[in-house]
């Protein structure tokens, strides 16, 4: 279910790291918790994000939720499709609905993130609560 090539946070974001660029999104678990997504607010290219700090918000019909960055670095790209098609976050959270790309400032930060197996175990525990 959770792609093994991605790394995961406890706040339910994922990151795919290619060389020194990370592509970031929210997980399937997160989109299910949120319900129907209606609006996504993201930083602009050139802005900086910091590991474990909020870089944007996702609004569903029911609630607003902060998105936390798995890594620090400069935003190099933003998924413009989400402006008019925020529902992609529900239909393809690990693919088409990526949020931002970041030039990693410190590659060592990804060592703290969870693998797919670790994340699956983590959300099983969350569900049990």
């Amino acid at each position: 279910m959770y792609p093994p090539e991605l790394l995961y946070t406890k706040e339910h974001e994922w990151i795919r790291v290619d060389e020194s660029v990370g592509t970031i999104g929210i997980t399937d678990f997160a989109q299910k918790e949120l319900g129907d997504v209606v609006f996504v607010e993201l930083p602009k290219p050139g802005e900086h994000v910091t590991a474990a700090e909020s870089f944007g918000t996702i609004e569903s019909v029911k609630a607003v939720s902060e998105i936390y960055s798995p890594v620090s670095g400069e935003v190099t790209a933003v998924n413009g499709k989400l402006q008019n098609n925020p529902e992609l976050v529900n239909s393809d959270p690990h693919g088409e609905a990526w949020l931002i790309r970041v030039q990693l400032a410190d590659r060592a930060e990804i060592d703290k993130l969870m693998t797919a197996d670790e994340y699956e175990a983590f959300i099983q525990k969350e569900k049990a609560h």
């Binding site: 609006f39 569903s60 019909v61």
Partner: protein, 369 residues
């Protein structure tokens, strides 16, 4: 130290049915309730265009009986109960002497000496105790909530679906009338009422029949687009329809007039709790007034966000949400009465920014006749 155990959540008789349908369950006022099944947007649209079925068994029911029942109800509620005929219902409020309500409610008259009040889940115990405390007439006041499940069938297809299952033509029931009826063989109270802004029915019946009736209704309406709907859609539907939700637009610090509920404050009916305060406000004005607004840019307003006029905070959003049918972001809020003018531009503070919004007339949505 032993930590106190969290109180167990109450469950309606349909709890297992919701879980079998894969509902997302949440804690709501001490109840374990379905917030959505297939998604709030889809459920909301089903009610506007076809039909939706809601479990609202968490709502409370209070029975009032005795020769002096009318006197007690006239004292403790704001609307004029003497105008009700047998089998007629009335939206009303349970009052405090401050002109504020301890709850809003629907009063049903079975007979001149027998009434049935539907109240909010979170307020049921408080309401029951307050009515009993106000009773100086020797009226029988009973909290009968545990004896009833309640489901709501709402939407333009509700009448057609109910017609196939009820033992008498539900089309004969006018809006806010009710009668004892059988639905799919289950005896209960069938009312042409609801909280969605659509035509529909609410049915009160014994809990042990719940799962079978729920499934029979869903099967009977499936071809016409009937789907189960949760509390999420119930909230967005009532907001589009401009209905107050207790704890948001109405509370113990808000008078009926401030909450735009002057139409259920019948000052000419005689004495009732809070009447003097309401009469004074009607003559002299009030400190705040409820308005509806729509956002002019893309972020939704949410409950509790600050409302500003010319950059100065003047109040708070009482309910704010995307409106799935209207496809706008809407909300309600209290503002100074002088600013409560349709068309006026206001701002909503969203994450430190002032987002523009416009005051619009309520309700946001009115169903086509």
């Amino acid at each position: 130290m032993i930590a106190p155990a969290a109180p167990a959540l109450k469950r309606t008789a349909l709890n297992a049915a919701h879980r079998a349908l894969g509902a997302k369950m949440v804690e709501f006022c001490g109840w374990d309730m379905p917030v959505e099944y297939s998604g709030i947007t889809r459920e909301h649209m089903a009610v506007r265009t076809a039909a939706g079925l809601f479990d609202v068994s968490h709502m409370g029911e209070i029975q009032i009986r005795g020769p002096q029942a009318l006197a007690l109800l006239q004292h403790v509620t704001s609307n004029d109960v003497s105008r009700l005929q047998d089998n007629q219902a009335q939206y009303s409020a349970l009052m405090l002497s401050t002109g504020c309500a301890i709850d809003d409610c629907v009063v049903h008259r079975f007979a001149a000496d027998h009434y049935f009040i539907c109240v909010n889940a979170s307020n049921t115990d408080k309401d029951y105790e307050w009515i009993a405390q106000c009773d100086t007439w020797g009226v029988e006041v009973r909290n009968v909530s545990a004896h009833y499940s309640q489901i709501a069938l709402q939407g333009p297809k509700a009448l057609g679906i109910m017609s196939r299952l009820a033992d008498s033509d539900p089309g004969d029931l006018k809006y806010y009338w009710f009668r004892r009826a059988r639905c799919a063989g289950v005896e209960g109270i069938l009312a042409r009422t609801g909280y969605t802004g659509e035509d529909g029915f609410e049915f009160y019946f014994p809990p042990d029949a719940s799962a079978e009736l729920w499934n029979t209704l869903l099967d009977a309406g499936r071809a016409e687009g009937l789907i189960p709907c949760g509390l999420g859609a119930r909230n967005t539907l009532r907001l589009e329809a401009g209905f107050a939700l207790y704890g948001h637009e109405l509370d113990e610090q808000t008078t009926l007039l401030e909450a735009n509920l002057g139409w259920i404050a019948k000052l000419d009916k005689g004495e009732f709790l809070g009447r003097e305060v309401l009469a004074r406000q009607r003559a002299q004005g009030m400190p705040k007034k409820l308005i509806g607004f729509e956002m002019l840019d893309r972020a939704p307003a949410r409950d509790g966000y600050a409302i500003c006029i010319h950059g100065k905070p003047v109040g708070k959003v009482t309910s704010g949400s995307p409106a799935p049918f209207l496809k706008k972001n809407i909300g309600m809020a209290f503002v100074p009465p002088a600013d409560a003018v349709a068309g006026r531009e206001i701002q909503v503070e969203i994450r430190g920014r002032l987002a523009p919004a416009r005051i619009v007339p309520l309700p946001f949505y009115k169903r086509p006749k």
